[in-house]
Symmetry: C2
DNA sequence: AAATATACTTACTAATAAGTAAGTAACAAA
DNA sequence: TTTGTTACTTACTTATTAGTAAGTATATTT
């Protein structure tokens, strides 16, 4: 695949996670990459097209990661830890996760982008739910109630945590991570 | 104060919490209110001015609410419950909270808006921290670690929860609320 | 050698954005 | 009665946006 195309997607994702979908323009990308805005339209005819492509790549990356952890035989703690580390890294880079940055804009997105955003959210929560359930069955995790509720709470705290910590300059993100972990210890 | 001015602020807040700050325009407001965009500029010379004013009002409302609960002698559970109910209401209205909707746009906001957003976030976390601390001292709440970390986690989960539940159509928000409450029971 | 495909640029268009300057109608104050 | 104030409208300007049509240089295929 084209290097320019990949650079556009990479920068596009970075801009979404930094400034937000409705605040970035093709000009932001073209200036940074030293190309013309029409070059971006060559690869991604519409902005919706670019947004959708970025989300599809993110879904793919997420699936590759979870498949990889599964095939390597990571236990539930290790898998949860690896997932949370994505957020620790985002926090270090002062970026939101893609779901958390597109979430508030959901009503302004085109249908295909909205569909991918929904799909990604669903995949994450389903994966987390299964992880929590299987961890509880093995007595590795302990928590009350349905796993899907715990999964939603954890995911919400991570998504919201990145936003809150970025507003207040830099709240200690490690403590959020510890708070989630502590909460699951038997 | 002017009725038009109040309607502008009310609609402005609603638009921020629905479409996001960078997706709404003075046209959205003027069309809805049947006035011209210059009329909005008469009350709020710049968009930043409007955003800042909306945040200031929100801070004031928050302080009035907490003061009111204090003076009425609400216990810690009742206070936490009342706070969470704001989010339950937001969820019902399919709106985000103002912090969660402006959060992702923080790098695109003007200095004065950013300052108020920071102030509001800080006030909420400080209030929640004190509430959790005093509740724990009375053995009404039970949790490990520092109260400020628990406060941040709870606030993050609420802010993120509204976003996640709105993406996936309508995840049961009540369960998030229960999950937080369950977690604090001694 | 001619035709085709790739990866762009040049040069626009149409729409929408925030913002402004000057005017006006209605009412109150001096 | 004039003067000023409030609450707007009219009529713009300037900048930026997503998006497009047509052209071009380079490499690849036939």
């Amino acid at each position: 695949m084209s290097v320019t195309r990949e650079k556009i997607m990479e920068l596009g994702e970075s801009l979404i996670r930094t400034k937000g979908y409705n605040a970035f323009s093709y000009q932001d990308i073209s200036t940074e990459l030293g190309i013309k805005n029409a070059a971006i339209h060559y690869y991604f005819p519409t902005k919706e097209n670019l947004g959708t492509s970025i989300l599809k790549t993110n879904i793919q990356r997420f699936e590759e990661m979870t498949d990889n952890m599964q095939s390597r035989g990571f236990d539930e703690w290790k898998q949860l830890d690896s997932f949370i580390k994505i957020y620790v890294k985002s926090h270090r880079e002062q970026k939101l996760c893609i779901v958390g940055s597109l979430g508030p804009d959901v009503y302004t997105l085109g249908e295909s982008t909205k569909a991918e955003l929904f799909k990604m959210t669903e995949k994450i929560i389903t994966w987390l739910t299964n992880l929590l359930d299987s961890g509880r069955a093995k007595n590795i995790f302990a928590f009350e109630g349905e796993a899907v509720n715990k999964a939603t709470t954890i995911f919400s705290a991570l998504v919201g945590g990145l936003q809150i910590s970025r507003i207040s300059g830099n709240t200690d993100f490690k403590s959020l991570y510890m708070s989630i972990a502590e909460d699951l210890k038997p």
